[in-house]
Symmetry: C2
Subunit: 565 residues, 2 copies
């Protein structure tokens, strides 16, 4: 019973790394009726972060400040009848992005005594302060004597994930440890908040439907374990963990299920009718995969500052663990299908790093040049910032593969997949006095493409076929040079849908399903997906050269691993 | 019989990579009476060079254009009686920097039909176009069945050296090959020209006293071979080489010997009396070592764009070949002492490369920013160019050794010593998203220091003691941060003489000896040397960390070598 155009709208909320985005879509065809974006104000100022120490925290107030503005902005754009037409809400966030909460489910940093304490805030997905904790988890998982609870997370637990960050928060700040009753992933906090489940006098944490996606991929939840890891295992890591586990319950939910109904309080604040079903939350990459067209055997690459590489497949009769990927969780992407998640810790961030490196002279020296007006300084800063990457691309795009002799390794933010190890570092080899900025830039792009290839090869080695590739995210639509190099390195065509909103679109599809407008996600995808915009086809000659260079990349990677203690 | 101050002056001419410098010194105490510098005009415009291909050629007219101006400029500064006081002339040049000459000894590029042909010009020391030729020489030296003529050049012949460049010139341009009767090193051409030995109707090439320093270090001349390599060996490399060899004679001369007397023609052109003795030429690094205070067991490091690391020692009863250094030649530095030469292909050039890399955005984008006046553009370019390296040093100097985790390899222009291999490339490892420009700069400085250490360790392994270190050249006096890091990495103090003119001073000492003002070089050094200015002392804590990091550098170097085919 497909909805008619103009009758039923849905609201998707996408909490990214830097900003919140609300999109109102027509459930009939996925067309956009209104949208709004707001940057996190504290995060934009760099508060609570220390990039040299890889500490990245986000204040819960940043998420609240942007929520109301985005929803009201999207409604305003969609017109006066929009609010009444919204039939379902779904939201996604980054992850693993957990925060310590009190007994009522309130993030500690929202309480006056914790408002400036980084350990009381959300630990953003890319926070790597829990390196030692992750190492502890991995060693303990091999040695504690029971089953290896990391098996469905690729056999290696990452510092980017839930339990490592919980341990880190508890050890980083004793005042936080003293009152942390539980931890909530960002994607679980938002629906619980909007549906009135948490806060003083509310039903409480036990009523919160934790995300299958979040807890399955990042918190070692698995149906086969009967839930989370055994108390005996967790107690061996930190004495406080069994109590945290108890606060999580034993079930998890997929996002085609409702977390609850929009509360009267939040309906008033957002300008919506109360009682709209709100879907269980999930991670942006996973909802993005759905919005991008996830279907069995295809990889959806969410390509931005990092990548998430998602595959769905029918659930096998006997589940075999895939080694070295971030995880495999039933229903984490599309309900009732096995969802595989992999990814690169830095992708666009590698290019951003190089841009930052090349901008050092201006940033360090331009302010000290006398005789320039503030307007001239701003003009130079902004023009160079806008034009630098395009200029590098223009100068690098016609270089012949292998011509420069430069070979780079993309692990500047560690390695997420295959075989997570955040201690690993990047490298640039083959430098000569003639190695200029465009040549190095090209090598960095090639390195990120090799990193993508390593993930696909791992899936294939482990028996998970990759039939085709769909790319979404900022890099996919903004950088033809990068996309062509990735296609050449993979030796596979890459399809790019004609939408900048694949993640919000995925959320909208879940909203449509919890609203009862479609029976399931494949049906919602069939009606709401964006058409394809571009297909990047590999050029066989270049692919052949890259086959050889990729082997050199693997040798370099092995060397770097062998020197990392 | 030490000369009195103000009585006997000498003229040193120093032909560097970019410019010619004339210095008039008082032979009594080495004090400077006058000097002048002129840049090579064609070279300054980048003519005849292709840095991406490592092709660096210098036109002989550049050397002539600067000669007259420099000598007259120095004389003018030294006062009206200067010309009459000059008792000796000596000159040094870069090397190996050979040029094809005709039967009369005229560099081919001075003839109208060759004036624009790069193969007819001087092949500057850092020209690496003869890589294949060097490889051919090395393979042939191992396989031809006779003795290994590379043994006193460290066992590995470099693309930077005489025979490789001769072969390259002959194969690069058939018109050059057709009329190339011989090749002259720059340091042999200048004295032969000034003393009237070459040119139409002159005594000719047979009268030219070839430099012991140049031919011993770079052309496989050795007294034990009876001169140059056997015809059978050379013919196996290129059929034209035996004839070239015949043009070289069988003897070589040290620079305490006169090449001849200043001709009337050149005396008139330079404004000097005819008949002044002109010393046999030598390379700048070797004369610089003398000017810097070379004495048995001490290493003089000439630190500039590249380094030359020179040691003199008493000639042993049985000469043992030192493996993997550029060479060991009796009398190449100080007559009657064994001269050892080693060095790094890129030192200051590594820092210059990084500066160039960081300057890319401005160079590519500033010209396209509308609304800036030409004056503003120039101001920004020039200020950033002047301040960039000092700003990097200021930001990098207080970083703690090992703190950044970045490890670099300094082979951006190949490796000269130990074990020459110009195919090798540089590398930067341990990069993270927090690796900013000062951190990478520091790693590059450390890499060049590790390269220096590798040379000293090789000498020691081969039984040549290194008792102390003296540093001269641009880097030695201009960059305290670099010098301190080198001292820390070497774990040895480094003495820096108070002179920017160590090379010209070395030439002046040879001029004083050929003029008969001193019996030998040690006597000239005793009177004419500059005092010490600074001594950089290693800090034991930092040295200990660098001991460990140096081992990582060696591991990285082995890896890069293993991947270089």
């Amino acid at each position: 019973m497909k909805p008619e155009k103009g009758q039923a709208w849905v609201l998707g909320l996408d909490y990214g790394t830097d900003s919140c985005r609300a999109v109102i879509m027509d459930a009939a065809d996925g067309s956009e009726a209104g949208s709004a974006v707001m940057a996190y104000p504290r995060w934009a100022k760099g508060l609570y972060c220390d990039s040299a120490a890889n500490r990245f925290r986000q204040h819960p107030q940043d998420y609240l400040d942007t929520l109301e503005g985005c929803v009201r902005g999207a409604l305003k754009q969609a017109g006066p009848e929009a609010a009444a037409r919204i039939k379902g809400i779904a939201m996604d966030t980054t992850g693993s992005t957990p925060c310590a909460v009190d007994r009522d489910g309130v993030p500690l940093a929202l309480k006056p005594e914790f408002t400036e304490k980084p350990a009381a805030m959300f630990f953003l997905w890319k926070d790597h302060t829990a390196l030692a904790e992750a190492q502890h988890i991995n060693e303990h998982a091999r040695s504690w004597g029971g089953i290896d609870f990391t098996v469905y997370e690729g056999g290696i637990y990452s510092s980017e994930w839930f339990w490592a960050k919980v341990m880190r928060a508890l050890s980083e700040d004793a005042t936080v440890a003293a009152v942390a009753h539980s931890f909530l992933e960002h994607c679980d906090w938002m629906p619980a908040l909007l549906t009135g489940l948490i806060g003083p006098g509310k039903p409480g944490l036990a009523a919160v439907r934790r995300s299958r996606c979040a807890m399955g991929h990042k918190a070692m939840w698995h149906a086969g374990f009967g839930g989370y890891p055994a108390d005996g295992f967790l107690a061996g890591l930190h004495p406080g963990l069994p109590a945290i586990k108890a606060s999580l319950g034993t079930q998890t939910w997929t996002s085609d299920q409702a977390a609850g109904l929009l509360s009267a309080e939040w309906a008033a604040r957002l300008g919506l009718p109360a009682g709209i079903p709100v879907a269980v939350g999930a991670y942006d990459a996973h909802m993005g995969a759905v919005g991008g067209g996830a279907r069995p055997g295809w990889m959806v690459k969410v390509m931005g500052t990092s990548t998430c590489d998602m595959i769905v497949g029918p659930r096998p009769a006997t589940e075999t663990a895939v080694k070295g990927i971030c995880g495999q969780v039933n229903g984490s992407i599309v309900p009732d299908m096995l969802g595989y998640e992999a990814g690169q810790s830095a992708f666009g961030d590698v290019y951003a790093w190089f841009k930052q490196l090349l901008s050092w002279p201006l940033e360090a020296l331009l302010p000290g040049i006398e005789g320039l007006s503030p307007e001239t300084r701003s003009l130079i800063f902004e023009t160079l910032s806008d034009r630098l990457i395009p200029a590098l691309e223009a100068a690098a795009k016609d270089l012949v593969p292998g011509q420069t002799g430069i070979l780079a390794l993309d692990w500047l933010n560690g390695r997420r997949t295959p075989d997570a190890d955040q201690r690993l570092k990047g490298a640039i080899m083959g430098l000569s006095l003639g190695s200029d900025a465009p040549r190095i830039y090209r090598a960095l792009v090639e390195a990120t493409a090799y990193g993508s290839r390593a993930i696909i090869e791992r899936f294939r080695e482990e028996g998970v076929p990759v039939k085709g590739i769909i790319a979404i995210g900022g890099v996919a639509r903004k950088s033809p040079m990068v996309m062509q190099i990735v296609a050449d390195v993979l030796g596979m065509p890459i399809a790019v849908p004609a939408s900048d909103q694949a993640v919000a679109m995925g959320a909208a599809m879940f909203a449509a399903v919890v609203a009862g407008l479609y029976p399931d996600i494949p049906a919602a995808q069939a009606s709401m997906s964006a058409p394809l915009e571009t297909e990047y086809k590999p050029e066989p000659g270049r692919s052949k050269v890259y086959d050889r260079l990729y082997k050199e990349y693997l040798v370099l990677g092995s060397f770097v691993e062998s020197r990392t203690k």
